[in-house]
Symmetry: C2
Subunit: 220 residues, 2 copies
DNA sequence: CGTAATGTTGAGCGCATTCAAGCCGGGTGG
DNA sequence: CCACCCGGCTTGAATGCGCTCAACATTACG
């Protein structure tokens, strides 16, 4: 948790980090219906969260990487309402929510931090709603790639190269597209010289072109 | 705020309700870019919240009614990232966020309540993402109507009759559809005897049929 | 090395959109 | 009181984007 804190505050916050937990690729950190006890800070690895409709269809609601927090959905009803699945071997810090609430009554900056994390998630989801509600396939994929590479860059990775940890189907589920459409859209980007794609390895050749696709939208 | 509280706690919470504010129909409670200071509990009236893309398109992210809270988006960056527009004359309680944080350090049940409100919003948005990402027009509108009537019923209104406070275009924006599609879908429901529609007045004749539409989905 | 999972590509279709015309209802001013 | 206007709504016809279905290619993995 990268916040400005005094040493004393930091020591207090160490208290709330309970056990660490390793999650094997393909297994769940928590599942829809399970009792909610903790938030999880991702240390390493990559997750997806998804909600399910009764008929079996599911919607990926987000992809999370190191430094991000999952589990906020469970607070309202004391039970989780989505699944968190590791897309590669991962490790998380388990932060019992009781402790978080207890500590954030004493440490103002932690309280503030928790509020911001939740608000950030709300704002992020607003962005996804905009994407799902009004963008076309190319815009969605361009937005997705830019967002992903930006978050990776903030973690010290390349601005132009990335490895997708998720399948075309999972990307499609997140973006409200079928996997074939995702694949075709990738191919169009490749034809246009915007990216190189070799399976899950993506190299962005022309970031500005991606930005244009996002900004032109239907106005073009 | 309907929570179980001791008398003392209730008195403390009264402290955080600052002024009330009246919002005329068509005007904004807050706007994208404005400084964030407070959350707002809706006392009367009906709001929409919407985010804007650079090119002018906007996406309605939700409709809010009495008893619901708006403004959570502003916490992360100390500025609002969406607009809240009154769809009819409305009145809200202004709750300065400083006071909320202060008080919720002392009143455990308030702290818990604030966390639940934010988590509830996150879960609600998951549902909208599922809708936008994987449902067809009929399912979206059926889901929308059922949700609206259920929330109204919880406030003492009819289970089967409602007045839409928003235009077809606003419904469409929320559901990721064009206004013509919303209109056509309403017409289809009318043909099928599921609802009666006279402008913004809607009477649900067959709730089960709406539920079926939602649950059958593409599996049908 | 063989099998299953994942990804690519093609052809045809269908649902929602686009474009366009007309309708309804409420409000305003003559 | 009626004529008019304008925003909101409905409906029709044609288009097109993304989906479905299907075949094949590639990769991962036991």
């Amino acid at each position: 948790m990268p916040v400005d804190l005094s040493r004393e505050e930091l020591e207090r916050i160490d208290e709330l980090v309970g056990a660490r937990r390793k999650i094997k690729r393909g297994t769940t950190l928590f599942r829809n219906g399970e009792k909610f006890t903790s938030l999880y800070a991702i240390r390493t690895g990559f997750f997806k969260t998804c909600v399910a409709a009764e008929d079996g269809r599911d919607q990926v609601t987000g992809f999370q990487m190191a430094g991000e927090v999952v589990g906020l959905d469970g607070i309202v009803h004391d039970h989780h309402t989505c699944d968190a699945v590791a897309l590669e071997d991962a490790e998380v810090c388990v932060m019992p929510f009781d402790r978080i609430e207890e500590l954030s009554r004493e440490v103002t900056s932690l309280q503030r931090h928790v509020h911001k994390i939740m608000s950030r998630e709300i704002v992020r989801e607003h962005g996804v709603m905009l994407l799902l509600g009004s963008m076309r396939a190319e815009e969605r994929l361009a937005t997705f790639l830019l967002n992903l590479v930006q978050r990776l860059h903030a973690r010290g990775f390349s601005q132009s190269e990335l490895i997708l940890r998720m399948t075309r189907e999972e990307i499609g589920s997140f973006l409200g597209l079928k996997l074939e459409t995702v694949s075709r859209t990738f191919s169009r980007f490749v034809e246009d010289g915007i990216v190189e794609v070799k399976q899950r390895h993506v190299r962005i050749l022309n970031t500005d072109a991606l930005r244009e696709i996002v900004n032109l939208k239907s106005a073009g």
